[in-house]
Amino acid sequence: MDPVTVSVIQGALENIAVEIGYKLMRMSYSSIIRESEDFGAALVDAEGRGLAESAQSTPLQSGPIPGYVKNVLATLRARGDAIRPGDVIMHNDPYGGASHGPDVAFIVPVFHGEELVGFAATTAHHLDIGALTPGSCGIVDAIDAYAEGLQFKAIKVHDAGRRNEAVWQILRDNLRASDLVVGDMEAQVAASRIGAERMAALVGQWGLPAFRAACEALMDHAERLMRQAIARLPEGSWRAETRIDGFLDDPDPARRELPLVATITKRGDGLVVDLTGTAPQVPDRPINMPFAGTVDVAVWLTVRSVLLDTAVHGHIPVNEGLTRPIEIVAPRGCLANPEFPAPTIARFAPGNQLADTVMKALAQAVPGQVSAGIGNLKVIAFSGLRGGSHWVHMEIFEGSYGGRPDADGMDAVDTLYANTRNNPVEDIESHLPLRVERYELREGVAGPGRFRGGLGSVREFRFLEDGGASVEGEGHRFRPWGFAGGGDGAPAALTLRRADGTERALPSKAPHMPVRAGDLFVCVGPAGGGYGDPFERDPEAVRADVLDGLLPAEAARRDYGVVLAADGAVDVPATARARAG
């Protein structure tokens, strides 16, 4: 295949994927999609192999799309059904490629004449999926897959061009805030269809043989980049373990403080990522992680971000080729490969911890390409009833990165496989009975290091009317790991301060609870681990943190051996003595 055509077709595919994402984000109603950008858009070939993804969107949404499509193909085949022009297929089966139930895909096939040539698909996190309590986060007490809400297994919402009204009626009848959710689904259909039209036109322009040859070539190209990066690793096998909170308030030890283990072995220019040693699945609590859709994406994302970091390597096309050199092994029945009908809806934070565990293993191989341990994330679903209908607002609370080989950790950001956005305070308060009373960096706490860990945030939400809330997150119990002599970071915390003056520390997972007007959630985000010996930190950087109110002077002395004079300048001789001693 001539390299010019490959380059041109690849650019065109990426352009289409970007257009799909752009349109979905702008058309959609729920803040979780349009502000948080918790959606995905991608093009795949007729076998479901990923060809291009939207640059917007969050990795945990676009990454699984090929898996959704592959499972839809298998499901329809098993059912004796086929893909036809005019179909739009809805799918959210976490045991069939979906990331979890609320992330519903709408998939539109692309035909060239009679021949199926690929799919345009979007996924999006929906506000509600008909689970036991309002919202689609914080459903941490679902006991099985059925308690998590509606399950769609390759359902044709448009069948050969005919709209399947019954299905749409079921959606409207079974989802809370259904105006918003169904509107978002319609937006997904519209955006996916535009992508399918564009892709069909592209195939028409180049002809099918050239298009297919270019797709093979661009996947092979990405595969080569990944294999070369793996080949540069030293020989070896690297094991890492971290722990998730699980359910810290649960009397059953099998549901709390659970290990995640990743052992990465280099085999030539391929990697085996073996998750053996990870805790057994929790059969009746939804922190199990779908193997295809969550676990695979967590591994791919981390390996790619470390070995083919965009800041170092520039733009690298995202397609199936990047994943080919990576084999993932997870024993059946463990947290990372659960068996149906174990619930999975709250797999978000454990999956990100798995990504962190993979980075911790890679850190041993390529210490100059990682960060120290990340601070994990949390989602709170705020909800209430107004005039008989629900309002639901899901807010993702940021974590932070660990220190890096030549820079401090990123402060108060989404981490690893998530990259959503917060909602503006001025938007939230204009539309919801909530008030955000504080949104600032968390002072005085960061994993010390030559490059310190990223800072957490402090965010406070007050209810102005009665309502409810549920919480799903991680990182209350264990500190983000320090690396190469750096200190550990700080865990997260969540407090509910009631209007009546009582106060309660909440665990990282809390099922739906009633909330009264005046009650305040105080969410303190985690601080990342430090990288390198803090006594090697540039004293001026320590001084800057003190001036910026991020580090108390006594901590500068204790953690960094930096002594500041009365005028605030670094006391050089005293610092030298403190660091020597």
């Binding site: 001539d2 980049l225 971000s305 108060a412 950001v413 990259n419 503006p424 305070v425 910026d548």
Partner: protein
């Protein structure tokens, strides 16, 4: 009346003088003086006056496009800034939207964290809190705390202070009072209010816009004062206007207060210049394509009006800015873009650029990597002896060497490789144009492509082909089209008010009052600027979305009292626009009016049409004939005997079949086989595909 347009670029300062009544124009180019661009500007104007035989005192208006603010932002060289903000929100600027710029990167840097506009030590909080829906006061302003903060910032050597309070766009009283107090304590401070600079919701973006204004403010203010001073010393009595990102000009005083409004000063003038050129050919639906050494700027003009960027798509130097801007899409594709084979064997062009130094290998200044310009040289499209009117000799052997190495790596012939470089870079540009046309419901096939900048006319036909565009226009002086654009502007001011009301429950009297207040505000500014009120024009618009959505579309509102019919017409336009932009509409859903806007236009004297050209004959115009490589069937290289033509001697109105290469001092136009070229009497080259 004599007008002068001055566009300052990184290397050259372009100037154009026009006397519309006499139908005359003159152009001039001098080297820029980056350490203080006002030196080059004034020297250039004086030089132009001399060559045009005009007394400096005879120039009535100087219109200026400047990159002072943009460069300060890009190079992160700005003032030591402070911020006074609402207690509890000290770090809005630092946390941003908590999103990382890159998905797949551990080592990335975040501009607002790594290179903050205001250091945390200078972000001070005070007691005050406003709440929606109307900016009611929940916590009164703690004036003593403002005073202490101002003193502390002054003591710390801070010269520029942004005052940024939550919900100030609903009620600016606290910010205004805070400014009074700050100026009492720190009279020399440059003070920016978020409610004045961008009175709309989304605190991170509004605060960042205010902080950017504070960051570049003192430098821009100093520059404007220096320039005015130098002009006076040189006997230039002209009044000075500066190009703003919104496609209008502002007074020097206005820009000194609101420098953030000039971030796209240069590219905006380019879109206007392209619009002016389109009008010379009677075309109002245009794609403007300005290709320079490192980047290409794309603008869309429909019915003679340029597209405006939606407020959430406007970023400069990695920071989001909420200021009205022409929708200009910039991509890293230009003459200096480097072609390479990546580690995985893929053929890439750009975004890395060889820049002006070392530049393309063919410039003979030490460049060793193959660039787009080298590909053009290898294919014979640039005339080595006539580049920039002969001002710079090209080294075709050096271009052949580096493109040859690339070809060997790709296992292609040298001509295939060179053609491949152009195919890829042109496809990148076509994709970018598709993003602003096809993807927004605009069919580019009915548009003409106006190509300018040094490299625009080299690539225009190939880019147009990729889009199905049938006509390419090349303006009279492609290299100074931006300077020409400066002479086509009106005074332009934008006002905005956030409304947040939903169809079915609209407060029509409030809307009327908001529009009237904004019009009065702009009229007052016009009065200060000396605009004849009878000639001032106002345009109304709203930012609308379906209730629940997060992105607004800009929709025109009619003039007059706001009544049901006026609103219904605007809502109809919204539904239609939503369908056009996104391919779908939700006509049954309620619509939220997020912002109301008024744009005021104060007309100014403008560049007219150039004198009709007379031209020569094809024989006179033909400098030589030589083989040039074009893409044949299946994109294979085909050599064709090609006429090299001198633009100023082309016969007017005569159809000339391609292939042809048209040479002029500031650009080279490629007319591939199968196209025809007409030198129009109006001044443009028209290439029909």
């Amino acid at each position: 009346m004599i007008l002068v347009g001055v566009d300052v670029g990184g290397t050259f300062t372009d100037l154009v003088l026009a006397e519309p009544e006499a139908g005359r124009t003159a152009i001039h180019k001098v080297s820029s003086t980056p350490e203080d661009p006002s030196v080059g500007v004034v020297e250039g104007i004086l030089g132009l006056c001399r060559s045009a035989d005009v007394a400096p005192s005879g120039v009535a208006h100087v219109l200026h496009g400047t990159t002072i603010a943009t460069n300060a932002a890009l190079q992160h060289r700005g003032a030591e800034c402070g911020m006074i903000t609402t207690r509890g929100y000290r770090d809005v600027l630092h946390i941003g939207r908590h999103q990382r710029p890159q998905h797949y990167s551990i080592q990335q840097r975040i501009p607002w964290q790594d290179t903050p506009l205001v250091k945390r030590r200078h972000r001070l909080v005070v007691g005050e809190r406003l709440v929606p829906p109307r900016g009611e006061v929940l916590v009164p302003l703690a004036e003593e705390e403002v005073r202490e903060a101002a003193r502390a910032l002054r003591a710390a050597g801070v010269e520029s202070i942004a005052v940024c309070f939550l919900f100030s766009y609903l009620n600016p009283a606290h910010e205004r009072r805070a400014r009074e107090i700050v100026l009492e304590e720190h009279p020399d401070a440059f003070v920016t209010l978020s409610s004045e600079i961008a009175p709309q919701f989304r605190e991170f973006e509004r605060f960042t816009t205010a902080a950017m204004n504070a960051f570049v403010g003192p430098e821009v203010r100093g520059y404007v004062r220096r320039l005015e001073g130098r002009m006076r010393e040189a006997g230039l009595l002209a009044d000075l206007h500066i190009m703003a990102s919104n496609g209008g000009v502002a007074t020097a005083q206005g820009v000194a207060e609101r420098p953030v409004a000039t971030m796209l000063s240069g590219p905006a003038a380019g879109v206007l210049g392209g619009t002016w050129a389109g009008a010379l050919s009677g075309r109002g639906d245009l794609i403007t394509l300005d290709i320079g050494g490192t980047s290409a700027d794309i603008g869309i003009v429909t019915g003679g009006r340029f597209a405006e960027a939606t407020a959430r798509d406007t970023w400069i130097a990695g920071f989001p800015l909420l200021t009205p801007m022409i929708d200009i899409h910039t991509i890293g594709a230009g003459g200096g873009s480097i072609a390479r084979v990546d580690a995985g064997g893929a053929f890439r062009v750009g975004p890395q650029s060889a820049g002006a130094v070392p530049g393309p290998a063919g410039y003979g200044r030490g460049g060793v990597r193959p660039t787009v310009t080298d590909a053009n040289i290898v294919l014979g499209r640039l005339d080595p002896g006539n580049f920039l009117g002969g001002a710079m000799a090209l080294d075709p052997a050096a271009s052949g060497r580096v493109v040859g190495e690339l070809a060997a790596e790709l296992r292609l012939t040298i001509e295939e490789a060179a053609l491949g470089v152009l195919t890829i870079v042109n496809a990148n540009m076509a994709n970018a144009i598709r993003g602003r046309t096809v993807q927004k419901g605009i069919d580019p096939r009915g548009y003409a492509l106006v190509a300018f900048g040094g490299a625009g006319p080299l690539h225009a036909v190939d880019v147009a082909r990729g889009l199905g565009v049938r006509e390419v226009l090349v303006p009279p002086h492609p290299g100074i089209t931006s300077a020409m654009g400066l002479l086509t502007t009106d005074l332009k001011y934008d006002a905005v008010r956030t409304l947040f009301q939903t169809s079915g429950a609209l407060d029509l009297s409030r809307m009327s009052a908001d529009f009237a207040a904004m019009e009065a505000e702009i009229a007052a500014q016009f009065a200060l600027d000396g605009v004849d009120p009878a000639r001032a024009a106002f345009e109304r618009a709203g930012d609308l979305r379906y209730a629940g959505q997060g992105y607004e579309l800009r929709v025109a509102f009619s003039a007059g009292a706001v009544d049901e019919a006026l609103v219904a017409a605007a809502l109809d336009r919204f539904h239609a626009q939503h369908r056009a932009e996104y391919g779908h509409a939700f006509p049954a859903s309620p619509v939220e009016i997020v912002n109301l806007r008024v744009t005021g236009l104060g007309p100014r004297p403008k560049l007219g049409r150039p004198e009709p050209r007379h031209g020569g004959t094809l024989v006179e115009a033909t400098l030589r004939r030589a083989p040039v490589v074009f893409a044949g069937a299946d994109n294979r290289p085909v050599r064709a005997e090609t006429a090299f033509l001198a633009r100023d001697r082309l016969p007017v109105g005569e159809s000339i079949p391609g292939p042809a290469i048209v040479l002029q001092t500031d650009s080279t136009t490629v007319v591939p086989p199968g196209c025809t070229l007409i030198a129009e009497a109006g001044g443009n080259l028209l290439i029909a595909l």
